[in-house]
């Protein structure tokens, strides 16, 4: 018997047959007849191992797994995304992007175009918990949000929750994205290499000790700096005004893991992530100015400088241990470190503004640091066929350490200023939940999470009930409802809506209460004949203790007064989201529609409720993938949402001066609707040796819709106001080549 390949399908938590779904392909009969299904192993490991007896299979796909998984869950608002979900339709610069895939889902507002914004059920971008193999990550994007921090090459799957949160998750208010990376192959060496327009990726995996120890390592880097360098050189050569510009930008990230199997149910893995962005901008201008009014005193020469140097990123390291204690009791334990840093340095020097020869300069450095050291242990226990109990505990030690220094020089006079904050926080959480089957048709998941957060002598205690109920109305239709509460002890202190490294994380203190949300969600989930499915889900969510800082005067958060200078408010969001899908073996069609409201109330800003800036009433996403042949795939997606909101003067009593404009309500104007079409194609070729070549061609914003990113308010001659929107991202063609071996 010649075993040529082994396929392992992991994460099969429910009865195997329900996940097996439909094995597709024209070689179905051959496939089934040629494999040995190791049922005993599947029962033990939550995985299905399929061994191929002869090398006759080019592809095997379990298409029903994703939908079966979601449908069988008792939870509302849960989506599971597999690796293949990242490939189609959300490709920017030919790089698949995890967060942009999530942005397409219903109930989520993407925020500013092409940024990694995720505004889930009316929440803010900082209210989402991103876990990479169980380790929280604070900075989830590169290049100001253009790329997410997650390399899709190593991602196995993602569980995304926007309501119905399991009790094992906490510490963020709006959503949980639990990302699991793949272990390396225990039997053979594989890898891939991708070359895109502005970035490249390489990944390699394989056994260290066959069947026992494996590794998986992936690296990604942008080369925008290599492209920019010659352009800047040319510009500088042609510049005759004495100006020299300089600049560089790059990002990279590294994912690495080593996994060792002591036994099939005793697995230890070491995982590591490190990512950095670095942006440097320089403008130097040669100056020669008279030293006095008459010019008799000669000339002063020097250089005016404007330098900005920004770097930011995360480092994560974790040790994971999965162990099956008894047949019905398993344990997963994670010990980790998660660190996030952001450094901004700004230097400005001016000669011209002072003709006495005194240099005037400003040198500012802003540093933001957050470090977590933590341990989590989760148990999964099935005491009875109708009970699945999960319980566990986690302890996190947080160190928040933002600081800022500035030095202003005016000749010999110097004005130095520095401010910093240092907090150590202890976050302890205990949880228990039981998924109870009440007969054939009803499943109840009841859980409770207790969270304690202590910082600077203040201890916050919070209890978070989690309830989910699923009623199987028929084999094709389920009804689900859930109630959850979540608390958030970490606050992203920001004076802008931009995802920039000047923002810093700070903890709840005696003066700053934890943010808190309550959410009720419920819906109908139908699997119709002929591969149609339709889900309709509604939610109502309230949020308390929201913070908002004034954008006046500064890009940097007010470190000295951050505990007192914020506006405190609340929010509410409600809406209805629908998902409609159909698929065949070669065509996949999906439509998401969301009708939603998102409101805010900050008494110090406005005495009544007003629209959140991303209160997008309608959101529609249409996606299609057509597998033309085994070697050609075409995909398209069309994204639409109602315009964002901004604040515009409604009345003018001395036109022409901003100072005299009257702003009668925050976010009183609805900006133009957003829509764009993305198109793409993958061309594959698999050589006789099994090496796969993939050429990807993509077009972002195919009809070049000018979607507004920010708006300047201008006056016409008749004094009426109009907006001049700036659309930063026009049509973007892209190309990439991927080699898989």
């Amino acid at each position: 018997m010649d075993f040529r390949r082994i396929f392992i399908f992991r994460g099969l938590n429910n009865p195997l047959i329900s996940h097996m779904g439909k094995i597709t392909g024209g070689f179905l009969t051959t496939f089934v007849s040629c494999v040995t299904i190791c049922m005993s192993a599947a029962a033990q490991e939550d995985s299905l191992k399929v061994e191929e007896r002869r090398d006759s299979i080019t592809e095997a796909r379990i298409t029903a797994e994703k939908y079966a998984e979601e449908a069988s869950s008792s939870r509302t608002g849960h989506s599971r995304l597999e690796k293949t979900d990242f490939i189609y339709g959300n490709v920017v610069f030919s790089s698949p992007d995890l967060i942009k895939t999530l942005q397409a889902l219903p109930g989520i507002n993407p925020g500013t175009e092409l940024m990694s914004g995720l505004y889930v059920h009316g929440g803010e971008g900082s209210d989402n918990l991103f876990l990479l193999d169980g380790v929280p990550m604070y900075q989830i994007s590169h290049l100001g949000g253009l790329f997410s921090s997650f390399n899709t090459d190593v991602i196995d799957h993602l569980d995304f929750y926007k309501s119905g949160f399991p009790a094992r998750y906490g510490s963020r208010m709006s959503s949980v994205a639990d990302i699991t990376t793949r272990d390396g192959d225990f039997n053979g060496y594989h890898g891939n290499f991708m070359l895109g327009l502005i970035d490249g990726r390489i990944r390699f995996e394989g056994p260290i000790v066959r069947d026992r120890t494996s590794f998986n390592i992936a690296f990604r880097r942008s080369w925008l700096d290599a492209v920019l360098a010659p352009v800047i050189n040319i510009v500088n050569r042609k510049n005759e005004k004495g100006e020299t510009i300089g600049g560089t930008y790059n990002f990279y990230d590294l994912n690495a893991s080593v996994t060792h199997r002591f036994a099939p149910d005793n697995i230890l893995s070491l995982k590591f992530y490190h990512g950095r962005d670095h942006l440097k901008l320089q403008l130097d201008t040669q100056q020669s100015v008279p030293s006095d009014e008459s010019g008799i005193g000669g000339m002063l020469s020097g250089t005016d400088n404007l330098h900005t140097d920004i770097s930011w990123g995360n480092t994560l390291a974790s040790l994971n241990w999965a162990y099956r204690i008894r047949d019905n009791l398993g344990m997963k334990s994670v010990m980790y470190y998660s660190g996030s840093k952001a450094d901004v340095r700004y230097y400005w020097h001016d000669l011209e503004s002072d003709k006495t020869g005194l240099d005037i300069s400003m040198d500012e450095t802003n540093r933001s640091r957050i470090n977590d050291i933590a341990v989590n242990t989760d148990f999964s226990w099935m005491p009875h066929k109708s009970h699945h109990v999960r319980f566990g505990a986690s302890y996190q030690f947080h160190i928040y350490n933002p600081s800022r220094q500035s030095l202003a020089m005016n000749g010999s006079a110097r004005d130095a200023d520095s401010s910093s904050r240092h907090y150590t926080g202890h976050e302890l959480a205990l949880y228990a939940e039981d998924e109870i089957s009440l007969g054939e048709r009803i499943t109840l998941n009841a859980g409770l999470r207790y969270a304690m957060f202590g910082v600077s002598g203040k201890v916050w205690h919070r209890a978070e009930p989690r309830l989910s109920l699923m009623v199987k109305c028929s084999n094709a239709m389920d009804f689900k409802v859930s109630y959850t509460e979540m608390n958030q002890f970490a606050h992203l202190v920001s004076t802008t809506y931009l995802d920039i490294p000047t923002n810093c994380w700070l903890p709840s203190t005696s003066k700053v209460a934890p943010m808190h949300s309550r959410q009720v969600a419920g819906g109908l989930y139908c699997r119709l004949p002929h591969n149609f499915r339709i889900n309709v889900e509604g939610w109502y969510k309230t949020m308390d203790n929201l913070l908002e800082y004034s954008g006046a005067n500064a890009l940097f958060p007010p470190l000295d007064t951050w505990e007192t200078s914020f506006n405190k408010g609340k929010g509410r969001s409600y809406g209805l989201e629908t998902e409609f899908g159909w698929h065949s073996d070669w065509l996949f069609l999906t439509a998401y529609y969301t009708l939603s409201w998102s409101r805010r109330k900050f008494d110090d800003i406005w005495p009544d409720w007003y629209s959140h800036r991303y209160d997008n009433r309608h959101k529609l996403t249409l996606m299609g993938t057509w597998k033309v042949s085994r070697s050609v795939e075409l995909y398209a997606s069309w994204n639409y949402h109602s315009g964002n909101w901004m604040t515009v003067a409604s009345h003018i009593y001395n036109s022409g001066e901003v100072f005299d404009r009257i702003y009668t309500k925050p976010n009183n104007v609805n900006l133009p609707d957003y829509h764009r079409l993305d198109l793409g194609a993958n061309f594959r070729k698999i050589s006789a040796k099994g090496i796969e070549h993939v050429w990807n061609i993509g077009i972002y914003n195919a009809y070049c819709r000018k979607n507004v990113v920010f708006v300047a308010v201008d006056e016409r001659e008749d004094k009426s106001l109009y907006g001049t929107g700036r659309a930063i991202f026009p049509i973007i063609p892209s190309f990439s080549y991927t080699l898989k071996f």
């Binding site: 954008g551 006046a552 800003i605 406005w606 003018i652 900006l671 907006g723």
Partner: protein
């Protein structure tokens, strides 16, 4: 200037790479409105008479007619605890950018309602409650070089949402001046040079100029407790003879005044907010159907305190 450079650099970078698209704003109200910006106050010396000073503006909509009929009139009504106190129905709208004053029998805890009505305008109305008497401030001062260092503290009421405004005054006199002597302004210094575009309010939330420089603070950070302040005022040798004195006027103000002054400051400096990239905190008003702020205060303060100037 320093932080504006950041902002301007960012905007320039974005602008260089941007495509423009022009559009009209949907949702702007085309009716004009009234802007009411006024204060009614009582003093610890006379806790039964409120003095009102209020600006009234008729403001055309950015999306509608910019002129008003010459015949248009505004009716201003003032109620105390829901009882009409005065009706002024003669205010012309077009040329009037004026100041309205009046004295009314009020006491702490009274609710004042001001409404402004006219055809074509939404009715503007605002309420304020006269605050309780301000706390007595404990004050001491020393001269340190050319600076007068003032230390003072106040005790906040527990369980109420309070705000305070302080005004520092100086005078020179052979005798202890009377409490009616307004003196002249004593400006404080808080690090940033005068020409700086930063608003530097030291330990206070905001400062504003209403003929006098007021420094305002809410009790958010010391609710129900005592708060101590230490401030510095550059102090020059008084010209002429006599003893230099200073005093602190302490006002307990209705919190809406503080919110409104903070919003006005933000309106002057929130560059990113104007283009939708920063939180908008400059639209605050407590005037329903209009704009501006109607607030109240209860004013007291220290007596005149000799400055230990040598």
């Amino acid at each position: 200037m320093k932080n504006y450079s950041h902002i301007i650099t960012c905007i320039c970078c974005l602008t260089l790479t941007a495509c423009e698209v022009e559009f009209d704003f949907n949702g702007l109200d085309d009716a004009p409105l009234f802007l009411l910006d006024g204060n009614i106050g009582i003093t610890t010396a006379d806790q039964e008479t409120g003095s009102l000073g209020m600006y009234l503006y008729a403001v055309p909509s950015a999306a509608g007619e910019r002129t008003f009929s010459e015949d248009a009139r505004c009716t201003l009504k003032i109620y105390i605890n829901s009882e009409p106190a005065e009706i002024k129905d003669y205010i012309t709208i077009e040329p009037f950018y004026g100041y309205i004053t009046g004295n009314y029998p009020v006491k702490p805890g009274d609710e004042i309602l001001v409404t402004a009505e006219s055809d074509g305008f939404p009715t503007a109305s605002a309420r304020t409650v006269i605050p309780q008497a301000p706390p007595v401030a404990d004050v001491s001062c020393t001269m340190e070089g050319d600076n007068l260092k003032i230390r003072f503290s106040i005790e906040d009421n527990e369980g109420t949402d309070d705000a305070y405004a302080f005004c520092f005054r100086q005078t020179v006199s052979y005798n202890v001046p009377s409490d009616n002597d307004p003196g002249s302004s004593l400006d404080l210094s808080f690090g940033n040079p005068e020409e700086s575009s930063f608003s530097d309010t030291g330990p206070f939330d905001i400062s504003w100029d209403d003929g006098w420089r007021y420094y305002g603070i809410s009790d958010d950070s010391f609710s129900g407790g005592r708060r101590e302040f230490e401030v510095t005022a550059p102090y020059k040798s008084p010209s002429g003879y006599g003893t230099p004195y200073f005093r602190i006027e302490v006002q307990r103000i209705s919190p809406e005044r503080l919110r409104y002054e903070i919003a006005c400051r933000d309106k002057r400096t929130n560059l990113l907010g104007f283009i939708g990239l920063a939180p908008v905190t400059f639209a605050y008003t407590n005037v329903s159907g209009g704009s501006g702020c109607i607030s109240s205060y209860n004013s007291g303060g220290t007596g005149w305190i000799p400055i230990p100037y040598e």
